[in-house]
């Protein structure tokens, strides 16, 4: 079973060093410490284990080191920055593993860009050696790319060498982030050896090259410049992200506020999030003191971890029933606190983490059905779970005891990867409706509540069956869903969840990933004579030449 828990003390592949406002994250992959024994992580190539550490490091910089305002991403290996995803690992992986691996590495790179855009942490790729494939894609996720001119080229050799696409956003970021001309991008993406020096700068693939003798100095200077405008605190301390340590049984994960129970026979899971209990911090001092035990951080870290484990460890669980439990007012009170204190760096980080977790849910290729019943706590930020679900069912009892609620958290701080809130995506052609819903926020909790009838009329939930229908309707919906082709559901959900505008991010997860998934199925890549299979072996790949 793969877990995602790690920390600097147990990193095998990265070194994290601090020098005032600049942190340095150095890749130094231990080639013998891959997740599987059938490959060696040579030349700073990576597998999921390496990327789990990278993702962890970025999280810790955000939460544990508020004094860090810029991060240098570099390598400790001689003349090698990063060779990208390990080819032998890809070759030996199932289709599902490849897809999940790419999804996670994509999310990690998007998290880098999220920190740059919203957290006041800029990233500088200090490319001090060969930088190929996923290595260059990591650099592309940074704000700027500085290159040691002595021996460094950048390259995306996947298509010419392996017959696959660069799997971590490379093609998209080249044209849509760095705005390299498409014809130059085409040329570049077919060059196994890549390009270097002045031409790489002129064409926009990197920002600057320095002679080897001046490289380190140039990196430090530029990192300090990037750090300067940050609105993060000048000094720490931050808060510590302690291990989550869920209780693990054969079929369940139990955290403090989240439980995930799988039924492998039915191919379903029950995901439950608990509202906060007892008094909650209401000011910055109390939040800092609570640290990672502050409910929204704790609950969403647990949710994030549960989703990641579900994705990778339970591939056959196709349908997730989402519930919430506890005091809805307690959720709304926390939302109010988050909204009131949103300019504080830690609160900002907590909200950004909630946002990223919900995006992780949007991008999880499982069906989510939310069940809203008496005693549930679908308010504000937790109501986003219902909005993120493919459908929501709300129990329409005579007593109107099941209630949902909106809070300011539903109107901006938690956008999807298309740049819209889930309410905006839901009511794409009815912005007026959203304005009206927002106007109804009221009272000491700055919230609005809706019973099942109102929620259904307003379109806030999908269905509101009554007592007579509830059990059968839910049971049949879940059973029917679990019986459909898993591939058709994945494709359908990927197309229905993201109405409205597309962004670089949705392009990466929609267009690019879908094409890559297609190629990852094709004999020309993964067949016995396919390019990915044949790489490094005797003889050339053999292709079916038909273009599709």
């Amino acid at each position: 079973m793969i877990t995602f828990a790690t920390g600097p003390a147990s990193y095998r592949h990265w070194k994290l060093a601090f020098d005032g406002p600049v942190a340095t994250l150095s890749m130094d992959v231990d080639e013998s410490a891959g997740l599987r024994p059938d490959y060696k992580l040579k030349l700073n190539s990576y597998d999921l284990g390496v990327d789990i550490e990278l993702a962890d490091a970025i999280q810790r910089i955000r939460f544990e080191h508020p004094e860090v305002h810029a991060v240098v991403v570099t390598s400790l290996k001689e003349r090698i920055f990063c060779a990208g995803a390990n080819i032998m690992m890809l070759r030996g992986s199932t289709h599902g593993w490849k897809v999940n691996f790419c999804k996670f590495t994509n999310e990690t790179r998007v998290a880098i860009e999220d920190a740059s855009a919203h957290s006041g942490i800029k990233f500088l790729a200090a490319v001090n050696g060969t930088c190929a494939g996923g290595g260059y894609e990591l650099a592309l996720a940074c704000d700027e790319i500085l290159v040691d001119d002595g021996n460094s080229s950048v390259a995306l050799p996947e298509a010419p060498l392996l017959g696959v696409l660069p799997g971590t956003g490379g093609l998209t970021r080249v044209v849509d982030k760095r705005h390299v001309r498409r014809d130059l991008a085409d040329f570049f993406s077919t060059l196994v050896e890549g390009i270097k020096g002045k031409r790489a700068v002129e064409w926009g693939f990197v920002d600057r090259v320095s002679p080897t003798s001046q490289f380190k100095e140039a990196v430090q200077k530029r990192a300090k410049e990037l750090a300067a405008p940050s609105d993060r605190p000048a000094a720490g301390p931050g808060i510590t992200l302690n291990p989550l340590n869920p209780t693990v049984t054969e079929s369940s994960l139990t955290y403090s506020a989240v439980t995930l129970a799988v039924n492998r026979t039915k191919r379903t899971a029950d995901l439950t999030v608990h509202a906060p209990n007892g008094p909650q911090p209401e000011n910055v001092e109390e939040i800092l003191k609570a640290g990672d035990q502050f409910w929204p951080l704790r609950a969403f870290r647990e949710l994030d971890d549960a989703l990641l484990r579900l994705r990778i460890n339970e591939p056959e669980v196709g349908t997730v029933v989402v519930r919430t439990e506890g005091d809805i007012d307690a959720v709304l009170a926390v939302d109010r606190t988050l909204d009131a204190l949103k300019s504080h760096w830690l609160v900002r980080e907590i909200v950004l983490h909630m946002k990223r977790t919900l995006k992780r849910l949007d991008l999880t290729s499982r069906t989510f059905f939310a069940l809203i019943e008496e005693g549930s706590a679908f308010g504000g930020s937790l109501f986003e779970l219902a909005l993120a679900s493919d459908r929501s069912y709300m129990f329409h009892d005579d007593a109107e005891a099941s209630v949902i609620a909106l809070s300011p958290m539903n109107f901006g701080p938690l956008p999807m990867s298309n740049g819209l809130t889930r309410l905006q995506t839901r009511f794409l052609n009815a912005p007026d409706k959203i304005v009206k819903l927002q106007e109804q926020l009221d009272g000491p909790l700055a919230a609005s509540r809706y019973n099942a009838g109102d929620a259904e009329d307003l379109g806030l939930v999908t269905f509101a069956p009554d007592e007579i229908d509830w059990d059968d309707e839910i049971r049949l919906a879940v059973e029917a869903r679990a019986a459909f082709s898993p591939d058709a559901m994945t494709g359908m959900e990927a197309n229905l969840r993201f109405a409205g505008p597309e962004t670089m991010e949705t392009k990466i997860f929609g267009r690019l990933t879908a094409w890559q998934n297609w190629i990852f199925q094709r004999p020309n890549a993964v067949g016995e004579k396919g390019a990915l299979q044949a790489y490094g072996q005797q003889g050339r790949p053999e292709f079916d030449w038909k273009r599709t």
Copy 2:
């Protein structure tokens, strides 16, 4: 060999009738007239042959019937509107055929929407019977959907029934065009039987239902209302679209202004477009008189036909070398005429057709390399061929004899499916540059010319090799390209060609199509026990339950 030539007199599957401003396009598929003998086109289901007629009918309405301002799309079959793409046809088709079939049907539906948006022709789907899958997708491409309440439901049963996606934009149009809520879309897209009546209207899947007794009248009334605001002429005549009749040899197609020669051993093709010869029409009367022989219409119709034949009949030809020949000034003069007369309905149609043809090229999954040499005619609208190519090579001779030129046609009338011109897509972060280029248009031809050095400096061409390098560089580029994995090239080009914003159209061709192509490869759909294979046979499909 598949050809795309047809006309109302030889339609087997559609009836086209005219009544003043309203045309009626009635589907009446001849089940024994499929393109292959291994299936029957029952229940108004369709194959590529049916859609070729549909595409032809829409073209003819545009050009031959300017008096038509609205089109009713309906069925002549009892209680059946259209059952969608024929399942037996899909089952018996190769992967490449399925992909090409879906691409063509998508382009036809986008052409319907293009006529609505730009030509003053509105489309009304008069759904008078079962409307499922591709049938509902055809209705979705229309401006409005009217339903005979007696016996008509609408459905997208592909995912639950066949384990594939609706392949002609259905999922995208439901949420992005009709703005159906994603949860309702999710529910709907898993219902084999679909929905009907009031609920279909309330949820936004259709616009109106009428009792059977009033249906025909309601359709006529609404069609007339839709026709009323059109700016098309009140009466004809239009111009006739005569057959193209290329000379066909074993390895070439020769039209009047276009030639396509394939080299199957090298897996390359040479595509050449000739500039106009002799005097060209300069006013509306002359254009009407020239009719389909007016060069831009003739040349782009031929180009369109050549691209379609290449796609379907030459799957192994992966690289197309694009050339132009003739008098560049003659092209620029035609562009000037098109620009000056653009408000006339026929000129508008000609320019829209040029636009659609260039989009067809953008969406053709073959590599295009443009070669610009002395005597070439890459000016204005023909320069779009170079901009649409993955790369362009311009011969940098000492005498500066090879020249390209821009015209007003490069600055607006021929946008890509992302809504931007090819220059805007090329210089995504340099709008100033485009303004400057436009300011350089000058002189009696309202054009600007650039030699190889200037064109390279301005980024208008990819490379400008000199005499010493030219032959080798071109040869090596084409040979190298032809040796790469065709799938990797398809995926790479699909991701590099469309920088910038996404539109419903690019979502359909990028995100949705890529997922569908993935599913079309998956054993859960096309394996021996897959849902598409198993449909209609004994026993249920068997799935690999792993979600990816």
